[in-house]
Structures are given as structure tokens and as C-alpha cells.
């Protein structure tokens, strides 16, 4: 049982890390601000979600597991709303450097 649990943790955390990599590479390589934003949100949603999922079996008790989920939901809320606001700034052209 614990062997399958370990496999589960390794698979989910690796998948989450992959999405974080995809987000960062997208941020670097996509041509314009709005498409970079699109890449970024994949990291927040899927990347962190999968990592939190993978860490849940190792959390010490119900409260700790709940804290992990709350962190993920907070990041979801924050990044979703901030992304929309940043998109508005980007669409307006931002201020060039």
C-alpha cells in the first residue's frame, strides 16, 4: 500500500513540476504579454494543484491537509484576479521600458 502511495506522490509531484516548467518556459518564449499570461496560469492551476495533491498523503493530520488545500485555493483566487488585472494593463500597452 505504501509503495503505491509513494508511486502516486512521485507521479503527481513530477507532473506538477512539469507544469511549473511549462509555465516558466512559456513566460520566456511566448511572443506577447497576453500569451505569456496564459502560460503562467497553467502553472498556478495545474502545477500547484498537482503538487498539493501529491503532498496531501504526507500531511500530518486533517488540519495540515486543509492548510495545503487552502493555500492552493488562495493562489488560485489571487492569480486569477491578478491575471485579469494584468491583462487589462497589457492590453492597454503597458508602459514601455
Amino acid at each position: 500500500m505504501s509503495f503505491f502511495l509513494d508511486i502516486f506522490i512521485v507521479v503527481t509531484v513530477s507532473a506538477g513540476a512539469f507544469f511549473f516548467l511549462a509555465g516558466s518556459v512559456g513566460l520566456l518564449r511566448f511572443p506577447d504579454a497576453l500569451s505569456r499570461l496564459h502560460a503562467l496560469t497553467k502553472a498556478d492551476n495545474l502545477g500547484l494543484g498537482l503538487i498539493v495533491l501529491g503532498l496531501l498523503p504526507r500531511a500530518g493530520g486533517l488540519l495540515a491537509a486543509l492548510k495545503l488545500v487552502v493555500v492552493w485555493l488562495l493562489i488560485l483566487l489571487a492569480s486569477a484576479t491578478v491575471s485579469q488585472m494584468v491583462a487589462r494593463v497589457a492590453r492597454r500597452g503597458g508602459s514601455p521600458s
Partner: protein, 95 residues
């Protein structure tokens, strides 16, 4: 397992380093705001992974604070980059 989680934390830390290139290069301010948001979210992942690997549950509290305040700083950035809304239809006195 602990070594694997620590290695995963290091991997996500490397993605933060990648994202930093956008702060330096990103032509518009929106790009830099995105980079800061990336550091916030990826940083939370690094803290959660490292906390689970080393057995410090308090790292989760720092992750909570990071999540809250990264959003707060980003909101302030956006507000300062946005011209104020014309207030012709706003009521003159706030109760």
C-alpha cells in the same frame, strides 16, 4: 522520498530562475508583474515541497503569508499602472 521532494523543490526553484529572465528582459511593466506573480506561486510550491521534505510544517504558514501578500503587491502594481477611472458618475460624498 524526502530526497525526491527536495529535488522537486530545487527543480521548481530553477523554474523561478527562468522566470527571472522575464523581469530583466520583459519590455512592458505587465511582463514584470507576471514575473513577480510567478515568483509568488512557484515560491509557494518550493516552500510546500521543502517543508514536507524537511518536516517543518511552519513552512506552510510562510506559504500562506506569501500567497496573500504577493497578491496584495500585484494589486498595488496594477493600480499604479492604471490611469484613474473618471469619476463623473460617482456620488460626491462617501458616507
Amino acid at each position: 522520498m524526502n530526497d525526491f521532494l527536495l529535488a522537486a523543490a530545487g527543480f521548481v526553484l530553477a523554474t523561478i530562475a527562468l522566470g527571472l529572465a522575464r523581469i530583466v528582459r520583459g519590455p512592458t511593466d505587465a511582463d514584470r508583474m507576471m514575473s513577480v506573480q510567478l515568483i509568488g506561486s512557484n515560491g509557494v510550491a518550493v516552500l510546500l515541497l521543502a517543508g514536507a521534505a524537511e518536516g517543518t510544517p511552519a513552512a506552510g504558514d510562510v506559504a500562506l503569508a506569501l500567497a496573500l501578500l504577493a497578491a496584495f503587491a500585484s494589486v498595488a502594481f496594477v493600480k499604479s499602472a492604471t490611469p484613474p477611472i473618471p469619476d463623473s458618475d460617482k456620488e460626491p460624498e462617501r458616507a
